[in-house]
Amino acid sequence: MHVDNLPVGPLAAPPSGDREPTGAQPVVTARQVTRTYGRTRALTGVDLEVRAGEVLGLVGHNGAGKSTLMRVLAGLEACDEGVVTVRGQEVPRDVRPGAAEFRAVRMAYQETSLCPDLTVAENIWISSRRCLPRLRWRRAASAAVQRRLDEMFPGHGVVPRDRVEALTLARRQMVEIARASLVDRLDLLILDEPTESLGPDAARSLYDHVRTLTARGTAVLLISHRIREVLSVADRVAVMRDGAVVADKPAAGLSEDDVLVLMGAEVAAPADPGPAPAAVPAGDRPVIAELRAASGHGLHDVSVRVGAGEVVGLAGLAGQGQQEVLERLWRPVRKDTTVLGSRAYVPGDRQRSGVLPLWSVAENLIVTAMRGLARYGVRRRAEEAAAVRSWVDRLAIRGGADAGMTELSGGNQQKVIVARAFASTADLVLLDDPFRGVDVHTKTDLYSLIREEAANGRSVVWHSSENAEMAHCDRVYVLRAGRVVAELAGEEISEERIIAVSFAESTEAPQ
């Protein structure tokens, strides 16, 4: 059967009208599954059941083992002990990717698994070749992905001929999700943090589509750190902690706080924006960085001012010029940009531009500060070690200073990269949406870290795709299509306001 023949859209009749999760058949189950990597026990005996036609939300702190469990459930990796059954059949232990048992289980990965040098259509061929014709597959793949994207993300703007490399992060994520869902029979769709780089619009249409999938009997497993989102979409929520599922409850009746408690932390009022933004009015601070009517390279007449000790936010939908502003401040080569003092950068794309994979946590953490500590180009190791110790403790980096960087989970890697920037003596720290995929507790720690450092006189420019984060800023510039459409300060900064500004503009005068 070909993708083209797939029943799609709302016209498709659900195979069973019954939306009662309890009565549904289990699609995939895991029993007492364990998995260790070297010294890391990623999974310590997981029991989980995913049933047809339900949305199962999976939450847990960074490194809880969610992605690992998903790789086991999708047949990408064998487990050490325990049993995985698919549609009631036990799966042999020596499973390999692409095994027949797992044909109907598909996964959209946390770090997309597209080939950047290939076109979208060619990427589709790779993962969905079984449902494509042998000849003229390119055309079939293009048509299929185009239709699926139109269904899932209206107005996506992806052309199947495009090379993935040329797509924005959000579009890549859309293609990744569409790729996972393009198959002739889909029993289980796993979405590992699908909305982290999507805008709210795209996220909403994704969840609409998830509903039509479940209506046809497909199970959907959703992993996300946006707990509110999970609660609103999922039928059931499973909570993982330290490699095991510690709770499995219907979503109805759960509150965000309940989930946080289950995830294993004393709920420390996560809505509290930390130390109050400094009282000094923006105008009175000495300006340490400034963009004056900058244009070109995706910016149009953008003026941005950063005062000493100020936390300046760059908000708006993803990809509207925020990164370009950061880029200019990072490398102030043009006349319209002035930056006084040294800079440090926290990249959002940690796989590509954050992690130094051969090194340990300590080496990764200190590499920026090393230059400042050194005398005549010679390192001072005692000072470096002390700095590393204090930062590993301060951010509670799991694994410790001597762990290999790639042994850490995504969230902990991100902590190291944030620590790298703040461990330096930089006067201006640039944050490029670094808290994507970081669990709430870590986030809260990092927010207060930022406030403390600002109180000590450092300036921070912070781009975030999560509007709620902007509440921790003194001042926020909202960007759209490369222009500053609003500058909010103090009390004005609120999620609602930012969304209002970014969207109010976007509905009028499209050019």
Binding site: L76, P97, Y109, L358, W359, V367, G377
Partner: protein, 338 residues
């Protein structure tokens, strides 16, 4: 497997050279100590070039210096000419190093200024250097300094002075890599250039320094070789392939980010002893090449994947970056004086 327990691929160079040495000893049943001593008097030249090549290869995927061969030849002429003109060996050696720096400067301009891939940039710089060599060689009259030659041949108690000096140089490179900000920056750039750039490392400066260091070391090797052998337009030819090979067999990660200076000694000794063995047995060039190639492949496939990171299949890895390098011809042709 964690990073700590990675295999130590540099061992293989030493193991292979010990094996070859034992074979030589078994065949000739004499001069075992002297064999090592003589190998140690040839190895330093290759080690010097290899150290520079290692720094370049460590700078990450795509980085390679294919201009070392023409630089060695050119620096040989320049050093001899400068020594003859000033009467000072030191000036001559410095002139050789300066030549290496000058050619490397062309490469650096092309790599950083014009974003030309290093393999091509250094190839072009090397072509320019070889033209200069030919122009200099036309009617060249100076002769190498006798004092320097005697110094290079000095072997008190069978230990070549040059080998000791280059061992010190190797130790300095080890210290450079682990103790200085430049060394750490180079290793960071080699692991991931974008990440190093975001970590505030002046990538362009680090790369420039690296190519200049490679040029300077090749120039130094050329200055010494010209005194040890004689200046000639093809003085450096063999050193391109061999410098790349010794670096990699020595355990340096071809995709960058990890350098093993000590390993170069093992593989340099291996190459030199292997040449000796082949010549001792009187094998034909065919057999010599088969053996050399076969052994390189054998050691390589035996040592295996220690040279790459943890290969757990499904966790997204850093893209395995391609290794790059280049070569020159392996034979010089058919005319007997070719």
């Amino acid at each position: 497997m964690t990073l700590r327990t990675l295999a130590r691929p540099w061992i293989w160079g030493f193991v292979a050279s010990a094996l070859v040495w034992a074979t030589i000893l078994a065949l000739s049943s004499q001069g075992g100590g002297q064999t090592v001593s003589l190998a140690l008097s040839l190895a330093p030249y290759l080690v010097i070039v290899g150290l520079g090549q290692m720094l370049v290869i460590t700078a990450g995927p795509g980085n390679i210096d294919v201009s070392v061969a023409p630089v060695i030849s050119l620096a040989g002429f320049v050093a001899v000419a400068a020594t003859a003109a000033t009467g000072s060996v030191a000036v001559g050696v410095l002139a050789g190093i300066g030549t290496g720096l000058a050619v490397a400067a062309i490469s650096v301009l092309a790599i950083l200024g014009l974003s030309i891939p290093p393999i091509i940039a250094t190839l072009a710089a090397g072509l320019i250097a070889s033209s200069l060599t030919l122009s200099l060689a036309d009617g060249f009259t100076a002769v190498p300094d006798e004092g320097l030659r005697q110094l290079l041949n000095l072997r008190p108690a069978g230990v070549p002075v040059l080998a000791v000096a280059v061992a010190v140089l190797t130790a300095l490179v080890v210290a450079l890599l682990s103790r200085t900000t430049y060394g750490r920056s180079l290793l960071a750039v080699g692991q991931s250039r974008p990440a190093a750039e975001r970590a505030g490392i002046p990538v362009a400066r680090v790369l420039a320094a690296t190519y200049l260091a490679s040029g300077a070391l090749a120039g130094l090797a050329g200055a010494l070789l010209a005194a040890y052998i004689a200046p000639s337009p093809d003085l450096g030819t063999r050193y391109l392939l061999d410098s790349v090979a010794v670096v990699v067999i020595g355990g340096t990660l071809i995709s960058g980010g990890r350098a093993v200076p000590v390993g170069i000694w093992g593989s340099a000794l291996f190459f030199i002893l292997l040449d000796g063995l082949v010549n001792l047995v009187g094998w034909s060039t065919a057999a010599q090449n088969l053996l050399k190639g076969g052994l390189v492949l054998f050691v390589l496939f035996l040592a295996g994947g220690g040279t790459r990171r943890d290969a757990t299949t499904s966790r997204p890895r850093r893209r395995p970056r391609p290794a790059t390098a280049a070569t020159a011809a392996t034979t010089t042709g058919d005319n007997t004086h070719g």
